[in-house]
């Protein structure tokens, strides 16, 4: 993660429209933004497309970034808003079919992406757990999913999440605890015979 000074320097360069600064910004945040959107949307193609749009919006909105929050918080906010709008749109479109977006998470999207590890038995076990947790996360409602991703996967502080989601810190905590419990219940339902 960048220090405050490094971030300020990057923001200054971005405002001067230095193309290398934007490249650096993309390098710093592309995986995080993509990861967040993949967890939110469940489909790699959808996540990639939205992530691209997030950076387009970031590029266009640089002049309006006042630095009241951190650059990271601002980018996450754009990304979560983008995801919410998209989910809302998809949900409206699917309403006629009485389907939920969460009915069809692309579980293959969450399979491990790393290099093969030497112990196939453990690797298989780990991959299976990864799949179960990812599928359970994808099956939660979007409000729970986003707060879990921001806190427990991306590691944002409560005040950062509050800024990203536009909620009071107390609401963030309450939502997070309930989301964790909901996730735990879903995982248990799959794990228990």
């Amino acid at each position: 993660m960048q220090s405050h000074d490094e971030e300020q320097a990057l923001v200054a360069r971005l405002r001067r429209r230095e193309s290398e600064a934007f490249t650096e910004l993309v390098r710093l945040y592309q995986h995080r933004v993509f990861g967040l959107l993949l967890r939110m949307m469940g489909q790699p193609d959808e996540a990639e497309e939205l992530a691209q749009e997030v950076f387009v919006n970031v590029y266009r909105g640089l002049d309006s970034f006042r630095g009241e929050s951190s650059l990271r918080t601002w980018i996450y906010r754009i990304a979560t808003n983008q995801a919410k709008n998209r989910l809302k749109y998809l949900s409206r479109r699917r309403a006629g079919k009485q389907e939920s977006l969460d009915d069809h998470p692309d579980e293959s999207a969450f399979m491990p992406l790393g290099e093969p590890v030497p112990r196939p038995d453990r690797a298989a076990e780990g991959a299976e757990m990864e799949r179960i947790v990812s599928a359970a996360l994808a099956a939660l409602d979007a409000e729970h999913r986003e707060v879990l991703v921001l806190r427990d996967i991306e590691g944002l502080a409560y005040d950062e999440i509050a800024q990203v989601l536009g909620l009071a810190e107390g609401t963030v905590k309450s939502r997070l605890f309930r989301a964790r419990y909901a996730l735990k219940q879903r995982i248990a339902a799959v794990m228990e015979p």
């Binding site: 995986h31 790699p44 939205l50 998209r86 947790v133 879990l148 905590k173 995982i187």
Partner: protein
Amino acid sequence: MSRLSDQTVELMGAYIEGELDGEAAASFEAAMEADPALFAEVESMRETVRKLASLQRPKAPEGFSADLAARLRTRSVVERRGGMGLEERWLQLLMVAAVAMLAWLLWPHGGSVTPSAGSLEGSGSGSGVDEIVVPALPAGEVEIEPAQPSRVSGGPVLPMKVLENRYEVVTQLDAKALRSELRKVVGDRQVKEVEGGFEVTLDAVESDAERARLLNLGRYSVERVTLPAGQRPPLLLRSRPATAEP
């Protein structure tokens, strides 16, 4: 253990996060000691948090940066064609121009719009554009809002939407009138009735002027419609919503 109450869940969450003060934490620990099921729930919750934290971090696909650079370049070119700066909301301004053109076309010297009864009355003046460059389909929904709807009488100009896989225009015509207008422009073969309106395959509408006529059914007014290279998505023309006009 049966489902925990919201209050217990929040207490448990606060305990795990170390947010309970000394007295509250001690009280919760005493409750756990007295209730093994509660203790098991806390441990299970901790394990859930660990599992979440250990999920692999997906990486953006190869070529993400290159694709983004290409996208920004494309947008930049499109914006320059509209004569606007990169930071401006060119889509909005384009629609302002389209609305102005509508007013111009509806002035007595005429135009290519064929208004239906009660659908396209309006008056006004102003210079307009003669071409609308339709943006490439984005992932999300983009509404091209007319910025000055008050310049056209007879009801609001509703935004054109650029959706994931189609363009969408809400017209001021009821279903019957819309069907009739579509017949005049593209005939029957290229029109599919769908819920809430009619879908037209733009691929089959080769003429820019015909595409413009379709768009003008949504109270826009342009003479040519240029589609993004290689894209011929369908255009959904919605009939007038029941609440759109008094």
